[in-house]
Amino acid sequence: MDAPLKRWLCLGCGFSYDESLGLPEHGLAPGTRWADIPDDWVCPDCGTPKNQFEMVEMGYAEAGVDQARIA
């Protein structure tokens, strides 16, 4: 059974990682699960370690998802 794709927020700067979008420019394809990202991965914007991200159940603001794709 497929678990719903989730969103995570960096507690160092607020950068978000959306499993459905991935981060293609950082080598993470759309659909990459948080659990499948290496433990030594850090926030691409501020260097905060992966374990200081928080899973969030939060929607996008209007047009936010388009901005998330290019963030």
Partner: protein, 269 residues
């Protein structure tokens, strides 16, 4: 059912970050300048305490010491960052909207919603120390348009009552979150009542100066109390006190819940 915790001043996370050495790209200032950061909740290096309270992830009591001390330009997204200047002068440069260079002094405060992205830089450019309270809030939605608002809390004309600084009251700075920040400055001892929007809302009470008894819990300078599940808070404030009230929706957050379970402090159960 009421749930609460008390955090004494000395129990907070304590970090000193110098402007030279390994943190020099992060912290600005002449050599020997340093930021002293007392964190009520886990933040950066400090990960030994409570992960947060409701929508609040950071409650920092910071002092910038030395000319030019502060944080160099750094990115933000999504978080809503508030600063309340207690003493000294904070020069705040941010890129929200058209961008702005702002200078905040005692009583001034800002609400910076980083939303879809922005950068900011915070400096104390004079040799005088700058002390501010920093609050980081989870936003209501991701990728909101960045915004910056600032205002002044006049300590002389707003004494001896609980005044709302951030939230939905007349004159308060708006925030895209179920949250209110209020402040009580006294020049005589007195009794006050704080009524949250609902008993399900939590209130984090921080005594910046002076002392107070809140629902029979005695709090000294820089002590704090987090409480939820109550209709009202009864405050007996001493003369010359300065008290912040951060009222927030209590999110059912897995990290906070896990921490509370592990520490026998089931604030949300």
């Amino acid at each position: 059912m009421p749930k609460s915790f008390v955090l004494r001043a000395g129990e907070r996370g304590h970090d000193v970050i110098y402007s030279d050495g390994s943190a020099s790209s992060y912290v600005a200032g002449h050599p020997g300048s340093h930021i002293t950061r007392e964190s009520s909740f886990n933040f950066h290096q400090y990960q030994g305490g409570r992960p947060g309270f409701g929508t609040v992830r950071v409650f920092g009591d910071e002092v910038f010491s030395g000319a030019g001390c502060g944080y160099n330009m750094h990115p933000h997204h999504n978080f809503i960052i508030c600063a309340f200047v207690l003493e000294g002068e904070l020069t705040h440069i941010n890129t929200a909207g058209q961008g702005m260079v702002d200078q905040l002094r005692q009583g001034d405060y800002y609400v910076f919603s980083a939303g879809s992205g922005g950068k900011h830089c915070e400096l104390s450019i004079s040799p005088e120390n700058m002390n501010a309270i920093y609050l980081w809030l989870m936003p209501g939605q991701l990728f909101l348009p960045p915004s910056y608002h600032r205002a002044h809390f006049d300590i002389r004309t707003r004494r001896n009552r609980i005044a709302q600084l951030v939230g939905d009251a007349d004159g308060a700075l708006p925030v895209s979150q179920d949250l209110r920040v209020s402040r009580l400055v006294t020049d005589r001892a007195g009794g006050f009542t704080y009524t949250p929007r609902t008993p399900e809302h939590g209130v984090y009470v921080f005594v910046a100066e002076g002392s107070a008894t809140v629902n029979e819990v005695a709090l000294g300078r820089r002590d704090s109390l987090g409480i939820s599940g109550v209709e009202t808070l009864a405050i007996e404030a001493a003369d010359s006190s300065d008290i912040f009230f951060v009222e927030t929706a209590m999110l059912d957050d897995a990290r906070i819940r896990a921490w509370e379970k592990a520490h026998g402090a089931d604030l949300l159960d």
